[in-house]
């Protein structure tokens, strides 16, 4: 990267990103958010742009396993750091219990919030495998859903907890 002290010029840079266990080398010409890189450059369209302002959670990804908003992260801040998107959740030919539970409960309507919700729930269950209903609601409080009214989503999380117990 080059810059002049007084002038501002576009930067041309190679970023090395680690997404879903895969290393990517991405060339960027100006500062972009992680969300833009995931969708526009890496073709990982599962992460959604809902509000572009940090209020809806549709752009949620996991950074070091913790939920964050990719629309507010400048891509170079996460160079080399482990990022998980919705595409990294299911195993080959097998949905994750959280995904399975959401489908079985009918908790997906338009599906736009769902990737963010799956990741927030995954992060919750990784740190607390048996959350109380209040803890589930709190973990989902950064993910807005305009379709379902959340009821079935919460039931699905409880179902996923049971499913994981049986595994």
């Amino acid at each position: 990267m080059t810059f002049s002290l007084k002038g501002v010029i576009e930067i041309a840079k190679i970023l090395r990103l680690m997404v879903n266990g895969v290393g990517y080398q991405v060339s960027i010409e100006s500062h972009v958010t992680l969300l833009e890189i995931l969708r526009d450059q890496l073709g990982l369209m599962g992460t959604k742009e809902g509000c572009d302002g940090g209020e809806c959670g549709a752009c949620t990804v996991l950074l070091y396993g913790q939920p964050v908003l990719s629309c507010l992260i400048l891509a170079e801040d996460v160079e080399g750091k482990p990022i998980t998107t919705i595409e990294g959740v299911a195993k080959p030919n097998q949905l994750d219990p959280v995904q399975e539970a959401l489908l079985q409960e009918g908790a997906v309507q338009c599906g736009f919030c769902t990737p963010g919700i799956v990741l927030s729930v995954k992060a919750l269950l990784n740190r607390n495998p048996h959350p109380a209903i209040g803890e589930i609601k709190e973990a989902l409080s950064g993910n807005l859903c305009r379709c379902t009214g959340y009821f079935k989503i919460i039931k699905a999380v409880q179902r996923a907890v049971e499913m994981k117990k049986g595994l």
Partner: protein
């Protein structure tokens, strides 16, 4: 909306950061912690800095520790990290709750406590009305009027950070650093009641850490009202800390509020009223009299009556948190 080009500098040390900004005018650069306030305003094109300096890469600004009977919190520690550290200490309950109530889990994993202390003031005519809609630009947007206070001669944007009132009632001190050296300032003196210049610091100064004196005798709490329980800003939020004698007499009491004015502030008249009294028996009429005299800005359709009424409800709730065995 695509971001305008800017230089993003990642210094490893404070000295390098100050050296770098010395080449620019104060309005050309911004320091960034988690980015959950700055990036949003950049996306909305409310601010377009030419330079952004990343505070996350600077050594030593994230540590949280207990030292010499103080809790010191690095300004770049995330709200989640501060919550986890303070959650088991009675004295720090206000801080733990305030940090835990900011926004949602994702923002708390990114946003820093320093950023929340320096949160930019908000107004529906500034943050929400970002598309041209026949609104003449107000003071905060470079214009010559205020849409909220029609006869106002200055900006009345609201301060809505959750953590400052908690830090105020805990008598926290902010450590600032700048190109000309470091200084300390009590949180109580850090704010001015101006919607544009609400922070008493130079643009080149940053908060490096926050020091809270530890006192096992103090119990604190934070009570907050907002449209939704998450994501929305406090409307208002009240922090209270008391040193109780015999479990109910307030030997010392601190009360601070956010979401009422362009600055968070201590409510000294209410503290004077509560000090030395039995918190189980508050003089409701006296409280009403004090609240009547409070100046409050009507934002987002919330009338001063509503905000003062909620303030009373929250003070009551805060006392209930501190005295759970209180009979009503």
């Amino acid at each position: 909306m695509k971001l305008k080009p800017f230089v993003y500098y990642h210094p490893a040390a404070l000295k390098k950061a100050f050296q770098f900004v010395s080449a620019y005018e104060p309005n050309e650069y911004l320091f960034v912690g988690g980015g959950t306030d700055v990036l949003v305003r950049m996306r909305q094109k409310l601010i377009q800095p030419r330079v952004i300096i990343d505070l996350k890469t600077i050594q030593g600004l994230k540590d949280i520790k207990i030292q010499d009977n103080y809790m010191t919190i690095g300004s770049v520690a995330t709200l989640e990290e501060v919550t986890n550290f303070s959650t088991s200490r009675n004295q720090l309950a206000a801080l733990a709750t305030a940090c835990k109530r900011v926004a949602g889990p994702q923002v708390r994993n990114m946003g820093t406590i320093g950023g929340n202390v320096c949160l930019e003031t908000r107004c529906s005519y500034y943050n929400q009305m970002v598309w041209p809609g026949g609104f003449e630009p107000c003071f905060k947007r470079g214009g010559t009027l205020c849409h909220v206070m029609r006869r106002g001669k200055s900006c009345y944007a609201l301060f809505c950070g959750d953590t400052p009132p908690a830090l105020m009632v805990l008598n926290a001190v902010l450590c600032l650093a700048g190109p000309n050296g470091s200084r300390e300032i009590p949180v109580n003196d850090f704010y001015s009641n101006d919607g544009i210049n609400h922070l008493n610091k130079e643009p080149q100064e940053i908060i490096t850490k926050i020091k809270i004196p530890l006192n096992k005798k103090v119990k604190s709490t934070y009570a907050r009202s907002s449209e939704r329980q998450a994501i929305d800003f406090p409307d208002p939020g009240v922090a209270m800390a008391v040193d109780l004698e015999a479990g109910r007499i307030a030997r010392e009491v601190y009360v601070a509020v956010t979401g009422l004015l362009s600055k968070p502030m201590r409510l000294k008249s209410i503290e004077d009223m509560l000090r030395g009294t039995d918190l189980r028996r508050i003089n409701s009429q006296k409280l009403d009299d004090y609240l009547k005299k409070l100046k409050v800005i009507p934002h987002q359709g919330r009338s001063p009556w509503y905000k003062k009424h909620m303030l009373k409800v929250l003070i009551d709730r805060a006392i209930g948190d501190i005295l759970p065995e209180r009979s009503d």
